[in-house]
C-alpha cells in the first residue's frame, strides 16, 4: 500500500518539497538568519544580495548579507521569510488536523445517527453559506490575534466541508454487509463507528486533509496581508507581503520572495493531495 503510494510521481514531488519546507522551518536559526525582529535604520530598503549592518538586541552592530534585501524598517527579509515558514506550516497542519477531527466527529454523528442528521447538516449548511474568509476575519477580530485563534478561525469554516465528506462516506459504508454483520454480532455503536466505519474513510480524508492544509496556508497569508491575522511582530509570509505592498513598484523583492515560498508550498501540498487521491482513491480520481 505505502509502496504504491510512494511510486506515484506527484506524491514524490509534493512530499519532497514539503519535507524540504519542514526542514527549513526546523533549521531556521542555523540557516544564516538573524532574529527576524531585528532592524537597523541604516539598512533600510536594501536590494537583494547587498551587505549592510544590523543591530542586535544587546546593541551590537553586525555585518550582515541581506540575501533577499531588507524592508523599510531595515529588517532582513530572508530571515523573516525563513521564520515565516514555521508559522505557515504550523497553521496549515494544525488547521487541517483540527478541521478533520471536528468534521469526523460531526460527520460520523450525522451519517450514522439519523435523528442528528437533519439538525446538524442544516447548521452546517448555514455555516457554509457565509464566505470562509469573512468568518475568519470576524472571528480573529473578535478574539485577539494569536496562532491559536487564527487556526481556530480558519478551521471553523472548513469543518462543514469535512463533515459533508465524512457523512457521505458513512452513508454508503453503513449499508455495507460487514457493518450489518457487526450489528448482528452485538457490536456497540461506538465501536462500529470508530472500528469499522472510520478506518474505511481514511483514504479520502487524507486527501481532503491536504487540500484543507493548502487552503489554510493561503487563508493565513490573506488574513495577515489584510492586517487582521497574526500581529506584525510574528513574521508570516502574509504580513511580509502586506508591509512590502506600499513600496511594491520600487522594491518588488519585499513581496516577491515570500510570494514564491507561499506559491511553492501551496502547490506542493496540492500536488501531494492529487497524488494521494490517484493512489488511494482511484474512483474519486476518475470523477474529478
Amino acid at each position: 500500500m505505502l509502496d504504491r503510494v510512494f511510486r506515484n510521481l506527484s506524491v514524490r514531488i509534493g512530499a519532497s518539497v514539503i519535507a524540504l519546507m519542514v526542514l527549513v522551518a526546523i533549521a531556521a536559526p542555523w540557516l544564516g538568519t538573524v532574529d527576524p525582529s531585528l532592524f537597523d535604520a541604516g539598512s533600510r530598503d536594501l536590494l537583494p544580495g547587498k551587505v549592510g549592518e544590523i543591530t542586535t538586541l544587546e546593541g551590537e552592530t553586525l555585518k550582515h548579507t541581506f540575501l533577499m534585501g531588507s524592508d523599510s524598517f531595515g529588517r532582513d527579509i530572508y530571515s523573516r521569510v525563513i521564520y515565516g515558514t514555521r508559522v505557515s506550516l504550523a497553521v496549515g497542519i494544525a488547521t487541517a488536523l483540527l478541521a478533520l477531527a471536528a468534521g469526523i466527529v460531526c460527520g460520523l454523528g450525522a451519517g450514522y445517527l439519523r435523528w442528528l442528521d437533519g439538525i446538524l447538516m442544516r447548521f452546517m449548511d448555514g455555516v457554509m453559506a457565509i464566505p470562509a474568509i469573512l468568518i475568519a476575519i470576524a472571528l480573529v477580530a473578535l478574539w485577539r490575534g494569536s496562532i491559536v485563534t487564527v487556526v481556530v478561525a480558519i478551521a471553523i469554516p472548513e469543518i462543514p466541508r469535512v463533515t459533508r465528506l465524512v457523512r457521505s462516506l458513512v452513508l454508503t459504508i453503513r449499508e455495507e454487509p460487514y457493518v450489518e454483520a457487526a450489528i448482528a454480532l452485538g457490536t456497540p455503536t461506538r465501536k462500529i463507528l470508530f472500528g469499522h466505519i472510520l478506518p474505511n474513510c481514511v483514504a479520502p480524508l487524507l486527501v481532503q486533509g491536504t487540500f484543507t492544509c493548502a487552503f489554510a496556508i493561503l487563508v493565513e497569508a490573506i488574513l495577515s496581508f489584510l492586517g487582521v491575522g497574526l500581529p506584525p511582530d510574528i513574521p508570516t509570509w502574509g504580513n511580509i507581503m502586506a508591509e512590502g505592498r506600499a513600496q511594491f513598484v520600487s522594491y518588488p523583492h519585499n513581496v516577491f520572495f515570500p510570494g514564491i515560498f507561499l506559491a511553492v508550498t501551496v502547490l506542493a501540498v496540492n500536488i501531494l493531495g492529487d497524488g494521494l487521491r490517484d493512489t488511494l482513491d482511484p474512483k474519486m480520481a476518475k470523477r474529478v
Binding site: I183, G186, T187, N200
Partner: protein, 535 residues
C-alpha cells in the same frame, strides 16, 4: 460460411496477474442460425473473448495471436474505423446489466434511433417506423409509449428487450450476449431466453451466448464450449456435453449443479421450536410534505415456524420480501407489526439494550462475500469480534476462531491475513465461521451462495449442511434459486409480493405445487429437462 470463426485466439494479461494469458489458443466457430454457449466460471476469460471479438479490449489486455473472422473477414489488426463500420451492422452485443448499458438521460426510442442514424442511410421517417417495428418485434407492449420512455421507467426485463432491439435493429450476422439474463428474475429470464431463440431463428443470426448457468445452457444452446482459466476444454453439441461430458472439469461442473429434486430427508419430530413469526409485517412509508404518504408493504402477515435441526427455505424473486423477513428476524430493521419469537421470547419490539443478549442466538451470512468482511481487519479480528463483545477473553476467542476455521476447512494461518487475500468461496467460509463463533441457535443464509461459482457453491452448500447437522442448528435459507432450495431445504416458503403464497414440506411444494405462482416459478426454472447433479 460461418458467422464467426475464432482460431487460436490468445489474449495477454498485464504482468502481476495470476496467469500470463487471459485466453490461450481458443478456437471455435458460430454458424449462421446457431447458438453457441460459452460456459465458464468467473475469471475463465469468457467476457475477454467477447471484448476481443468486438474490438473492445482495454490496452492492458493485448491480443497476442490468432485470428477472428466475421463472415469470413479477418478482424484482427483492423483499424478502429473498420471496427466501427462493422459494429451494430455486422456484429452487436448485449450486456448483463441493462440499467447501466442504457443511457439514463435518453429515451429508449432515441437510443435505438441513434444506432440507425450512425449506421444506416434511412430517412427520419424510415428510422421512426423501423424503431417501432423492432420494439414491436421484441414483444414490448404499447411500442409508442415504450419508445418515449426513459430506461428507469421500464422494468429490468423490458430494458433488456430494448438492448436486444438495439442489437438486432440492423440485422447483424453475429450477436454476442454476455450473461444477458443473469441480473433478471427466473420468470423474466425464461421470457428473454424465449425471445432470443425466436429472433435468432427468424433472422438467421449466429449467437455467441456467454453464461455461467448450465440451466440456461440446457434451454438455449445448440452447441456448448467450456472454458477453464483461459483454455477451451470441451466443445460439442449440447446434449453430448451435458449428458456425456468427456473432460473432467466439465463433469465436475455439471455434477455441481444442484438437482431440482427435493432431498426428502426426514425431519426429527418434536424438536424444540427455535424461530416462530406471527403476522410479521414490514411497511415502508415514504413521507411527503404535501398529500398522503405512500406506503410500500415489503412483507405482510408472514407466519413461519422453524425447529432445531431443520432448514427452512424462503424462495422468491427480487422484491418478494424474502430478504426483508430475514433482516427483520436479525433485527437489522424494525418490523412494523407481528411477533418474532426466538426460543419462545418475542424480540420484535425490544429496544437495543434488551435485544443485545439475544443477538447472539441469531446470526446471518450475507450474499456478497466481497463486502461482508471489513477490508481493513484481519480474518482473526473479524471472527473474534462477536465473542469479545460478549465478554469472552481474547485468547479463548482466538482458540475458538482457530477451531472454527478448521470446521469450515481453512488453514488456521488465515487468522493473520486480510480478506482481500482470499477468494469468494473462502471469504464465504470465513463469514460462516464468524457467524458460528457466536454459537447461534439460528443461522440465516441470505442468498449466501448466489454470488459463488457453481463448483464453489456446491462445496459451500455441503459445508452448510454438515455444520447444521453437526451443531444441530436451525437454518433459514433465503434464495432465489430453486435448485439450491431443493437441495438444502426441509421446508419451503414461497414468497411473492411480500406474502407467503405457499408453505410446506419441500417434497410437497416441489412435487405438487398448489399455488399458481409457485407453478409459474417452477416452469420458468431453466434446464428442467436435464438431470443435473446426478452424475
Amino acid at each position: 460460411m460461418n458467422a464467426l470463426d475464432v482460431d487460436g485466439l490468445t489474449i495477454g494479461l498485464p504482468s502481476g496477474a495470476d496467469r500470463t494469458e487471459a485466453v490461450r489458443r481458443v478456437s471455435f466457430s458460430v454458424a449462421r442460425s446457431e447458438i453457441l454457449c460459452l460456459v465458464g466460471e468467473s475469471g475463465s476469460g469468457k467476457s475477454v473473448i467477447a471484448q476481443g471479438i468486438m474490438g473492445l479490449l482495454p490496452k492492458t489486455l493485448p491480443l497476442n495471436g490468432g485470428s477472428i473472422r466475421l463472415n469470413g473477414e479477418e478482424l484482427v489488426g483492423m483499424s478502429e474505423a473498420g471496427y466501427r463500420l462493422r459494429r451494430a451492422r455486422r456484429m452487436s452485443m448485449v450486456f448483463q446489466e441493462p440499467m447501466t448499458a442504457l443511457n439514463p438521460v435518453m429515451t429508449c426510442g432515441e437510443q435505438i434511433d441513434e444506432v440507425l442514424r450512425f449506421h444506416s442511410d434511412l430517412s427520419l421517417n424510415q428510422r421512426k417506423t423501423r424503431t417501432l417495428d423492432i420494439v414491436r418485434e421484441v414483444a414490448l407492449p404499447e411500442p409508442e409509449r415504450i419508445v418515449a420512455s426513459y430506461p428507469h421507467q421500464l422494468s429490468g426485463g423490458q430494458r433488456q428487450r430494448i438492448m436486444i432491439a438495439m442489437a438486432l435493429v440492423l440485422e447483424p450476422a453475429l450477436l454476442i450476449a454476455d450473461e444477458p439474463t443473469t441480473a433478471l428474475d427466473v420468470t423474466t429470464q425464461a421470457q428473454i431466453l424465449k425471445l432470443i431463440l425466436e429472433l435468432q431463428k427468424r433472422h438467421g443470426t449466429g449467437v455467441l451466448f456467454i453464461t455461467h448457468d448450465f440451466g440456461v445452457v440446457a434451454e438455449i444452446a445448440h452447441r456448448v464450449a467450456v472454458l477453464r482459466v483461459g483454455e477451451l476444454v470441451e466443445l460439442g453439441a449440447r446434449d453430448e456435453v451435458l449428458k456425456a461430458p468427456r473432460h473432467e472439469y466439465t463433469k465436475m461442473l455439471i455434477a455441481s449443479v444442484p438437482t431440482l429434486k427435493p432431498h426428502g430427508r426426514a425431519v426429527p419430530p418434536g424438536a424444540p421450536v427455535v424461530l416462530e413469526t406471527r403476522g410479521l409485517a414490514k411497511t415502508y412509508a415514504a413521507h411527503r410534505w404535501f398529500g398522503p404518504s405512500r406506503k410500500v408493504r415489503a412483507a405482510e402477515d408472514v407466519n413461519l415456524e422453524l425447529r432445531r435441526g431443520q432448514t427452512l427455505g424462503i424462495v422468491g424473486e427480487s422484491g418478494s420480501g424474502k430478504s426483508t423477513v430475514a433482516r427483520c428476524i436479525v433485527r437489522l430493521i424494525d418490523p412494523s407489526a407481528g411477533e418474532i419469537r426466538i426460543d419462545g421470547a418475542d424480540i420484535a419490539g425490544l429496544g437495543a439494550a434488551a435485544l443485545r443478549p439475544l443477538r447472539r442466538k441469531v446470526q446471518i451470512v450475507f450474499q456478497d462475500p466481497f463486502r461482508s468482511l471489513n477490508p481493513r481487519r484481519t480474518v482473526g479480528e473479524a471472527i473474534i469480534e462477536g465473542p469479545l463483545n460478549y465478554g469472552l477473553a481474547r485468547a479463548e476467542a482466538l482458540e475458538r476462531a482457530r477451531r472454527l476455521l478448521e470446521l469450515v476447512r481453512m488453514e488456521p494461518s488465515a487468522l493473520a491475513r486480510f480478506p482481500h487475500q482470499f477468494s469468494g468461496g473462502q471469504r464465504q467460509r470465513i463469514c460462516i465461521a464468524r457467524a458460528l463463533a457466536m454459537e447461534p441457535e439460528l443461522l440465516i443464509a441470505d442468498e449466501a451462495v448466489s454470488a459463488l461459482d457453481v463448483s464453489v457453491q456446491a462445496q459451500v452448500l455441503l459445508l452448510l449442511e454438515e455444520i447444521r447437522t453437526r451443531l444441530n442448528l436451525a437454518m433459514l435459507f433465503i434464495t432465489h434459486d430453486l435448485r439450491v432450495a431443493a437441495q438444502v431445504c426441509d421446508q419451503v416458503a414461497v414468497m411473492s409480493g411480500g406474502r407467503v403464497v405457499e408453505y410446506g414440506p419441500a417434497e410437497e411444494v416441489f412435487l405438487r405445487p398448489r399455488h399458481e405462482y409457485t407453478r409459474a416459478l417452477f416452469d420458468a426454472a431453466p434446464g428442467r429437462g436435464f438431470a443435473f447433479g446426478s452424475t
